[in-house]
């Protein structure tokens, strides 16, 4: 880890192993690259599938289809309170045992022939069992998937023998965020899901840098993240880890809110910096203790984001479906509103955030639609886009280590 708090030299000069050269564009369109990412990244690493608040009671479950891992994952809270994950597949002839995206039950009964499984995955009953041959039901439970919980975030790993546990995978990045009140803030959430016609890295990269804020979000965020002293929304801080990364974002405390924004701000903090203390969060958030801080963008490799501010946070999960298709799932978390004013303030921040990321969304497909042309062989990254460079570096490094070859395409 390398913490950096001054900006007297470039970010890249502090991380020379990343280089400064252009980025090849065929990584976004190459089918072979996509298959390598599937086998050596998504099928090997811990992936966030949700939060514990989605399944508060024993018998509560949800399903996360993961096309990149060629499976559907069933996440269940057992009678013992433990969160477990299984491949969502009957041991008899393979039908999904849970068809609904979420629900609550005492057992999972396959709709095909009625095989029934307990919440812990064990096979409980088989209709007409005596007509089978040498059936050992004790070995025919649902197939367990490695599952662990960090700060209320549920992660799974489809590798039958993960190379490292979740704590080790998150490393210093994971311990740094300790103390942020995720549980208190996660009592209420609002999310959107959409399928974008773009490679998952086109989508992810758009959320890894703030160079675009002043221009792309010039209408939606006038003077919120920029000012005369920081016209390009340059980042305040950078922390790079072997997989993950954090940047601290500047916010203009002197921004003049809109008329409706003014009403919202009188009742609570919102997406735009206003009325909050940059030193209030635990030390791992705004790690540089910058007075003009507004939020930290935390990227968990390969495709999960936890962007934390004071009093609220939001996440992105990017799920590759095909080389040119990605499911984009964003969630905003709030403490459960008790009053109408709190509810109104949350709705204002929610709608504003949605409209901002709709601006991001348009660029994704407009960009991807041109990639196949091959007209541009390379992209050029500036110093502030270092998390984009880092992400591509880690991807190529993982593929090269696994295949023993240099690059892919």
């Amino acid at each position: 880890m390398d913490g950096s708090s001054s900006n007297d030299t470039t970010w890249h000069s502090k991380h020379p192993h990343l280089g400064t050269g252009p980025l090849p564009t065929n990584v976004f369109t190459c089918e072979n690259q996509f298959q390598l990412e599937r086998e050596h990244i998504f099928k090997k690493l811990w992936l966030n599938v949700g939060r514990v608040e989605q399944i508060p009671e024993p018998g509560n479950y949800f399903v996360q289809d993961i096309a990149m891992c060629q499976t559907s994952i069933l996440v269940v809270r057992g009678k013992d309170g433990e969160v477990r994950a299984f491949h969502n597949m009957c041991s008899h002839r393979g039908n999904k045992v849970a068809w609904d995206k979420h629900g609550s039950c005492k057992a999972f009964t396959c709709k095909f022939h009625g095989w029934t499984y307990g919440l812990d995955g064990t096979l409980r009953s088989v209709p007409d069992e005596k007509n089978f041959f040498d059936l050992d039901t004790s070995k025919l439970g649902l197939t367990l998937v490695a599952c662990d919980v960090w700060e209320g975030f549920i992660f799974i790993n489809v590798d039958p023998q993960p190379a490292e546990d979740l704590t080790s995978f998150l490393g210093e990045f994971g311990t740094r965020l300790h103390g942020y009140p995720f549980a208190d803030i996660s009592t209420s959430s609002a999310s959107w899901t959409t399928e974008v016609n773009a490679n998952w890295k086109v989508v992810k990269d758009a959320f890894l840098e703030t160079y675009h804020v002043a221009f792309l979000h010039g209408r939606s965020l006038p003077d919120s993240f920029t000012s005369q002293s920081n016209p390009h929304n340059q980042i305040l801080d950078l922390r790079l880890y072997p997989y993950h990364g954090t940047i601290s974002l500047y916010g203009n405390a002197d921004v003049k809110p809109s008329p409706v924004g003014s009403i919202a701000f009188r009742h609570g903090a919102s997406l735009i910096r206003q009325n909050f203390d940059p030193n209030a969060p635990p030390p791992g958030v705004n790690p540089g203790r910058h007075e003009d801080w507004t939020l930290d963008l935390n990227t968990v490799f390969p495709s999960f984001f936890i962007d934390v501010s004071e009093g609220s946070y939001f996440t992105h999960n990017f799920w590759p479906v095909a080389v040119d298709r990605t499911i984009w799932h964003s969630t905003q978390y709030f403490p459960k509103a008790q009053t109408a004013s709190q509810r109104f303030t949350q709705e204002y921040g929610h709608v504003l955030f949605r409209d901002i990321i709709l601006e991001d969304g348009r660029t994704l497909e407009e960009t991807h639609s041109m990639l196949a042309s091959g007209a541009k062989k390379e992209f050029y990254l500036q110093d502030e886009e270092i998390l984009v460079r880092h992400s591509h570096h880690v991807i190529q490094q993982m593929i090269e280590r696994a295949t023993g070859t240099h690059a892919h395409v």
Partner: protein
């Protein structure tokens, strides 16, 4: 819901009860389907009454709003929905934005 009524002290907002919609999807669809003139009339009617409305609604826990108060609350949520159209974009939808109808919203808690 347009034949339901608002609390008596907010009866002046009765002409806009078609904006009292329960979900983000419904409020967003209404915004997208409205002309800028329609949005502005609603915005201009609600904005000067929003603080008073929120103050009035403070007397009720959010979980147990009477029907007329809940209708008033939903009007304020529609004000939040249309605010970016009026204050940022000058048109119902996000300028050069991704189609909001492709976003599937879901709330919990």
């Amino acid at each position: 819901m347009s034949d339901a009524t608002l609390p008596a002290s907010f009866s002046d907002l009765q002409p806009w009860t078609s904006w009292a919609l329960a979900t983000e999807r419904e409020r967003s669809d209404k915004r997208q389907a409205s002309s800028m003139e329609e949005i502005l009339v609603f915005y201009n009617a609600l904005l000067p009454r929003a603080e008073a409305a929120l103050e009035y609604l403070e007397q009720y826990p959010l979980e147990r709003m009477p029907a007329d108060a809940n209708m008033l609350l939903l009007l304020t949520l529609s004000l939040a929905e249309v605010a970016p159209a009026v204050e940022l974009f000058g048109q119902p939808g996000v300028v050069d934005g991704y189609d909001v109808r492709r976003f599937q919203p879901e709330r919990r808690g």
